[in-house]
């Protein structure tokens, strides 16, 4: 065999490996670092594939199972422990599942949609103890949307068993930085909530930060330094079309869409120091909301759109304040801790998550607005950028691990924590999308 033949063989042998590493580089890996002892035992029986064409690489059942597991509220049974694989609710032998200490069983089938333009996921969820059929549904999706359909099924199961709508069929935006020195590259990505299918939205050799979703889930506002100074852009995630929202002198930062998407709150410093402004997106008119020599920044809307929470160091150190979106006097909201910044408001308006600093440690803390009680949720060191899931169940945030930025999520009660690791780059600035309808 000649040398070139050997080389050729070696390359062919390595090719699949190379392709695999390529794929892995773009993927977020998720790992639960702190679980929940009271997680509900559930068996997601592998769904029967009755559709034309080959089944997908990751089965529908695996996607559903992984979603439920990640929530920390469910303990899905391992597939190898499934001694029985019923194809429908009628053939479930309840005694078997009681012995396996499983409370709920899901069975189902994937078949072609009647019009041939997609798939129907036909499934049933039963309570092992009462033998009650809790869900019996068909979820229809387009040809390329089987993963999305699987997330929708997980959402339905989650809602049925916890009483809270699921947030698995949502997306996350984040910024990834690669390279060092003058060879930096920043990319804004949008991925499925489980980290799959990451799509670059925009890339730049200059810093990108503060992505913020519109509530229709179609657009992202973000800050880019591509022109040398900070500027705010609004970009349509599916078409890529973008518009410049602000590029005045000084800081143009911290964009936040109002709940009705008619206004954009932002931080501008052209007056000499950072103040909060509200821009009417249909007329382009902007209105100054705060007026103080301090740093006023990081506006966050209450879900009813009536209040803006923001960070200000007017009292000496950064704390969260609130002001009526219509204007008025600012009121201090956080009272414990040296440093509370970057508020994110729960969908029910009852809780405010912040980055809380104490000495050199920064943790995600949560304030109950009713009681004023505040507690930290994460073990910290440098945790920041909290972002609520649209169902309020989890908070996504940025942390550091071995001098590298990674994303993590913590349940709103602090009991379940997980890391989302992108295999390449320094990941930061996560933003959880609203529910996409």
């Amino acid at each position: 065999m000649t040398m070139s033949k050997i080389l050729e063989k070696a390359i062919y042998a390595l090719l699949p490996l190379l392709l695999l590493t390529q794929l892995a580089q773009a993927k977020l890996e998720i790992e639960i670092v702190q679980g929940n002892a009271s997680a509900l035992p559930i068996a997601i029986i592998p769904l029967q594939w009755r559709a034309s064409g080959p089944p997908p690489e990751t089965s529908v059942g695996d996607v559903i199972s992984a979603d439920l597991y990640r929530s920390g509220l469910f303990a899905p049974l391992d597939e190898e422990d499934m001694v029985d694989r019923p194809v429908d609710a009628e053939s479930i032998r309840y005694g078997t599942w009681r012995l396996l200490k499983v409370d709920y069983v899901m069975v189902g089938t994937v078949r072609d949609a009647p019009d041939g333009a997609g798939y129907d996921i036909v499934y049933q969820l039963v309570d092992v103890h009462t033998q009650e059929h809790m869900l019996s549904q068909i979820t229809s999706v387009g040809l390329g949307d089987l993963r999305f359909g699987s997330h929708r099924v997980a959402d339905a199961i989650y809602e049925k068993l916890t009483g809270v709508p699921g947030a698995f069929s949502t997306r996350i935006a984040y910024v990834s930085a690669t390279g060092i020195g003058n060879d930096q590259n920043y990319q804004l990505f949008v991925a499925d909530a489980d980290g799959f299918n990451p799509q670059p939205v925009v890339g730049s050799p200059e810093p990108l930060l503060s992505p913020s979703w519109s509530h229709d889930g179609q657009r992202l506002a973000y800050v880019s330094f591509e022109k040398g100074n900070s500027a705010i852009y609004i970009q349509n995630v599916s078409t890529g079309a973008r518009e410049l929202a602000s590029s005045g002198k000084g800081i143009n930062g911290a964009p936040a869409f109002s709940p009705d998407d008619r206004y954009l709150a932002m931080t501008l410093s052209y007056s000499g120091n950072p103040e909060i402004y509200i821009k009417d997106l249909s007329t382009g008119q902007k209105r100054q909301l705060t007026n103080h020599w301090a740093i006023d920044t990081e506006p966050a809307w209450s879900p009813d759109g009536k209040t803006i929470y923001f960070t200000s160091d007017r009292g000496g150190r950064p704390q969260i304040y609130s002001v009526a979106a219509a204007g008025g006097k600012a009121r201090r909201v956080t009272r414990s801790g040296d440093y509370n910044a970057r508020a994110t408001i729960s969908p029910d308006g009852g809780r405010i998550a912040v980055a809380q600093g104490r000495g050199n440690e920064y943790r995600i803390a949560i304030l109950e607005t009713e009681t004023g009680r505040m507690r930290s949720l994460t073990p910290g060191v440098l945790d920041e950028s909290p972002s609520f899931a649209p169902n309020g169940s989890m908070i996504l945030y940025a942390t550091r691990e071995n001098s590298r930025g990674v994303l993590a999520a913590v349940s709103a009660d602090g009991n379940v924590r997980q890391r989302l690791i992108l295999t390449e780059g320094d990941v930061r600035e996560p933003a959880w999308s609203p529910v996409i309808r």
Binding site: F225, G250, G253, N273, I295, R400, S403
Partner: protein, 176 residues
Amino acid sequence: MNTTWRLLLALFIAVAISACKTTEPEDTTATDTTDTAPVKEATTAAAADPRDYTDARNFDNSESLLSKRVVYFDFDKSEVKSEYRAIVAAHAAYVSAHGSARVTLEGHADERGTREYNLGLGERRGNAISGLLSAAGAMGSQLDTVSYGEERPVCRVSDDSCWSQNRRVEIVYTAR
């Protein structure tokens, strides 16, 4: 006045002599046809008085404060510490003496705290330097402040040795 001139002359001679000395080894290695230009350059550069802050040659003179163009800050603070006042005063002298000079004050913060708040903090630091330059005679139209917050660290380890290098304002001349 007379003494100043005499001092300057003495300084010029001293520097010129030392410049000649440093160029000697160069002469031995350089070919005859190329040695005149570099020698002349070395002589004139070395002739700059490091304390003459209106002399552009001092930007590259490590003995002059004009060659120092980074000011460091304490955590979450934007007060210019006394040890950096002389550097800022030197640049103020240059900028006010050269109407065509343009300076961008690039404000930075360390990684602790939130990114948007740190943009505010970087700007406040840039403005602190800008304010001192203005007070010492620089025109507002000569000065610009850009904050990069914590986005452009010079050092990436999470400890104070690194953070102290990142909390800074870089005095960047876009025109001299």
